[in-house]
């Protein structure tokens, strides 16, 4: 008798836990399901080492911009100009390096500063003049699209010197000298997986001490096994090709920095408060204008970095670069669970959202699905993700 009551009690708590965290698990499982699906229908092409490497290279700039976009959206705004800014900065880099022979390192610094400056110029109007970000950044989108055409005089400029290309197409050399499989990649994978598990355990122990842990132990184990396993699997695959791409490191480090910034710091907390209720945040002594301004400066900086990486990958700057990319970035953030009204969303969600888009692009291309259907399918996936969110929220409320 007592056995059955405890039994029902645990199943009930598992069910209620699952339903209240459906979004987070759902996202992870959606990514896994999509990967398994494409792995099967592409006859194993998707997870070949060369394709995994390509996946990272292809999507790096989207992910980097999604980090900034998540913060802008959490703050209650939107930035439509990131695609154009990315293209403009790529063009600027090409003109500086190829036409003017400016050293690569100086060019990179100047380009990042220009990106931040562009973000500041747009953020200024949004934050201090209360002009809707949709309008300001729509204007920015047109302006910087035009300016990159002007800079490039309608031509493509390239190629770039080798050091600049390494930004995107370089790989971390194997410090252990094993070569293949690349021991550095394996070591990084093992260390990262161990770190994730260790931090998860530490957090769990701390929550237990406060009596607030609600994740059933089985869930914790399964989740960590999946995440750590996936990480090791990917790293192993990479190690059998050319090792760790430079952009993967850039992306990984940035993701960790921004996840920390948004979840652990006062500035991150204040951005969530600002997006959740700007008036209440202001009356709590939070400098809401300055914060809004900074979210745009940050977005500009990351768009510039994305622009450099994209140009380096194509090894040329084209007037078309970055066209409509803002839509992919914004879609990734919303698929990742952010709310249009602000105050809700996570860095990890945005990154997973970007990967979902990336895997679908890649998988459908391998399958030979036309660009027309690809657009339709991506659009439906975005809509489905948001409907899922709204439905969940209504069910809870």
């Amino acid at each position: 008798m007592t056995d059955t009551t405890t039994q029902t009690k645990t199943t009930k708590s598992v069910a209620s836990y699952l339903s209240s965290h459906l979004r987070e698990y759902g996202l992870l499982f959606a990514l896994i399901a999509i990967m398994v699906f494409f792995q099967v229908v592409t006859n194993g092409t998707l997870l070949k080492p060369v394709n995994i490497t390509n996946l990272f290279l292809q999507n790096s700039y989207i992910i980097i911009m999604a980090l900034g976009m998540l913060i802008v959206i959490v703050g209650g705004h939107i930035d439509l100009s990131v695609g154009s800014v990315m293209g403009f900065v790529g063009a600027l880099a090409a003109v500086m390096i190829v036409n003017w022979d400016v050293p690569v390192s100086l060019t990179i610094i100047v380009c990042l500063l220009v990106g931040a400056l562009i973000g500041a110029a747009q953020g200024y109007w949004v934050a201090y003049w209360k002009i809707p970000s949709f309008i300001v950044t729509l204007a920015g989108m047109l302006v910087f699209r035009g300016l990159s055409l002007w800079l490039l005089e309608g031509q493509s400029i390239g190629p770039f010197p080798k050091p600049f290309q390494l930004l995107s197409t370089g790989f971390i050399p194997d410090v252990f000298g094993v070569g293949r499989p690349n021991a550095t990649a394996l070591a990084v994978g093992i260390i990262a997986a161990a770190a994730i598990v260790w931090m998860g355990l530490r957090k769990r122990a701390r929550n237990k001490a406060y009596g607030i842990e609600d994740e059933p132990a089985a869930f914790f184990v399964v989740r960590n096994v999946i995440v750590a396993g996936a990480l090791l699997f990917v790293m192993y695959k990479l190690s059998t090709f050319r090792g760790l791409p430079n952009v993967l490191i850039t992306m990984g480090v940035l993701t960790i920095i921004y996840a920390f910034l948004t979840e652990q710091t006062t500035i991150g907390r204040r951005i969530y408060a600002l997006g959740g209720n700007e008036k209440a945040a202001k009356l709590s002594g939070i400098p809401t204008e300055r914060l809004t301004f900074l979210t745009f400066v940050n977005m500009g900086l990351l768009a510039a970095l994305a622009g450099l990486i994209f140009a380096a990958r194509l090894n040329t700057a084209t007037p078309k670069a970055g066209f409509a990319v803002e839509l992919d970035v914004i879609a990734a953030v919303f698929i990742g669970g952010a709310s249009m009204s602000g105050g809700v969303g996570k860095i990890v969600g945005a990154v997973v959202g970007a990967f979902i888009m990336g895997v679908m692009n890649n998988g459908m291309s391998i399958m030979g699905i036309g660009i027309d259907y690809q657009q339709v399918i991506k659009g439906l996936v975005l809509l489905a993700a948001v409907i899922f969110d709204v439905y969940n929220k209504q069910k809870q409320g």
């Binding site: 006062t266 500035i267 907390r269 209720n277 008036k279 209440a280 945040a281 202001k282 002594g285 105050g343």
Partner: protein
């Protein structure tokens, strides 16, 4: 004279509250009938029952109109019979012209095509009737409040009004605008329009009203005939507040300590209009003192509080604030908090809480510095702090990780109070701290206020509930039209005295 409207035994219940209890109202054809009572007495609810905002069936009792049993499913229903209500918050579209506003929803049109010449011709006629010399094409937002009020009345006239209901029509008007409006009402009366006027201004009521009905605590307590006898303001005030005060407030040692907060020559202008909202206010709070600010809605109490708290309201703010004799900087909210002020807002959902975030995150929001080092939040410490407040404040919740949107009003208010206590203020400004919360939670909040006073903090309490102000305050400032019109000690304060200070301005 004939009876135009009779409301019999009207009872209206909201979940947990009886807003109207057996109210009777009888209005004669062609009279001006004044409806008076304190904030929350039930006047507006009664008018909403009459106009169909609360449809037939949602209340008990009968409405007889023009000799027939009536009952309305919505505003459109009552408007068809000529009952037009003009709310305190004007229902005009500021960006449209006067002509467009007058005929909104009631356009002079054939098959959906508006006949503009006809619209403008009719508008001119209506504007002449209400004595408004403006072109029909003038944008409504460019008119002052007084003129907007006249546009509203013109709009009512366009619908062939028989019974005009005005909710606090002169609350936001200047002296001369008010006078003009009252004249217009008398003029309309001579043309046979019956009016019900809700007002707090007893001098105005004495000037225009034929009959006065007093409502108190959701019940009609008296109907006074002003045509046959002289009704004194004292008489009305006594009827308005005449309830006995029970001991609903926890006892406290009243001992005022040293001077804590002093505000000198405080002046504030409206953020948009050329209007002074706060004029020449001087006041002080001593340590351990609970100071009440009484006044009607629109008196400027919230504006005063918000302008003091980091200049969150208004512009051209002048004046000095000193804490313990030292001038302090309150030019930004952050500075005001740092210098020992806290402001618990009137509207906790809009201005006080991040509803979608947890109790813990709300409590620490105004003082994140104390749970972080070098900008990194120590979540364990944060949980400790909020857990401590959960217990001290008796916030009823399974955990501090609960979203505040799921809490009851009383518990939400305790979260807001916790947030400000954690900010470590010397002086707390509480704006309507018990609005919308139940009696038990109210008592707990009074207890918290007393506790603060015992710790030597200064408390400024703004409240529209006079019994609460009288029960809690050591001293009461009475505010009207942006200025203080009186100061009463706890001993000399009474509802009558406060009311008469307000109404005999």
């Amino acid at each position: 004279m004939q009876t135009l409207l009779e409301m019999r035994n009207i009872t209206k219940t909201f979940p947990g509250v009886k807003a109207l209890d057996d109210v009777n109202l009888k209005v004669q054809e062609g009279e001006i009938h004044a409806l008076v009572g304190e904030n929350g007495a039930g006047k507006s609810t009664l008018m909403k029952v009459l106009s169909g905002v609360y449809p037939k069936g949602s209340y008990e009792g009968e409405i007889h109109y023009d000799g027939q049993l009536a009952g309305f499913a919505g505003i459109a229903d009552s408007e068809k019979l000529g009952i037009i209500i003009i709310h305190q918050e004007l229902a005009l579209v500021p960006l449209l012209s006067i002509a467009e506003n007058l005929f909104i929803g009631n356009e002079c049109a054939k098959g959906g095509v508006v006949n503009w010449p006809e619209t403008f011709r009719k508008t001119e006629g209506l504007l002449k009737k209400v004595g408004l010399a403006e072109a029909p094409a003038t944008q409504v937002g460019k008119l002052g409040v007084g003129k907007q009020q006249l546009v509203e009345i013109a709009k009512a006239l366009s619908k062939d009004v028989r019974l005009l209901i005005l909710d606090e029509p002169t609350a936001a008007l200047s002296e001369s605008d008010s006078s003009a409006l009252l004249d217009l009402l008398l003029e309309l009366k001579s043309q046979g329009v019956t009016s019900i006027v809700i007002s707090h201004k007893l001098n105005e009521i004495r000037r225009i009203a034929d009959t006065i009905t007093v409502i108190r605590d959701g019940a009609s307590v008296s109907t006074l005939d002003a045509t046959t006898q002289e009704i004194t303001e004292d008489h009305i005030v006594r009827d308005m507040v005449g309830r006995d005060m029970s001991h609903r407030y926890p006892e406290r040692d009243r001992k005022a300590g040293d001077m804590l907060l002093e505000v000198r020559d405080w002046n504030v202008w409206h953020p948009e209009h050329q209007r002074q909202v706060i004029r020449d206010i001087n006041f002080h709070v001593r340590a351990g003192e609970v100071v009440g600010i009484a006044g009607l809605m629109g008196a400027g109490r919230t504006e005063l509080a918000m302008s003091l708290f980091g200049r969150s309201y208004g512009r051209n703010i002048t004046g000095n604030v000193a804490l313990r004799g030292q001038p302090i900087d309150t030019s930004t909210v952050a500075a005001a908090i740092k210098n020992g002020l806290a402001y618990v807002t009137e509207d906790r959902k809009e201005l006080g809480l991040i509803l979608e975030e947890s109790i813990q995150r709300n409590i620490t929001l105004a003082n994140l510095g104390d749970v972080s080092s070098k900008g990194v939040i120590n979540e364990a410490e944060e949980t400790n702090v909020s857990e401590r407040y959960r217990q001290a404040m008796n916030i009823r919740t399974p955990s501090v990780f609960q979203k505040v949107v799921n809490l009851s009003g009383g518990n939400q208010q305790k979260v807001v109070l916790s947030k400000w206590l954690f900010a470590g203020p010397e002086v707390l400004i509480l704006d309507e701290p018990t609005r919308g919360i139940d009696v038990g939670a109210k008592f707990e909040i009074y207890g918290i206020i007393n506790e603060l006073s015992a710790q030597g903090k200064g408390v400024i309490m703004i409240s529209s509930e006079m019994p609460e102000l009288l029960g809690m305050s050591d001293r009461i400032y009475v505010m009207n039209q942006g200025g203080f019109v009186g100061e009463l000690s706890a001993e000399e304060a009474s509802q009558e005295r406060i009311m008469s200070l307000i109404v005999t301005e």
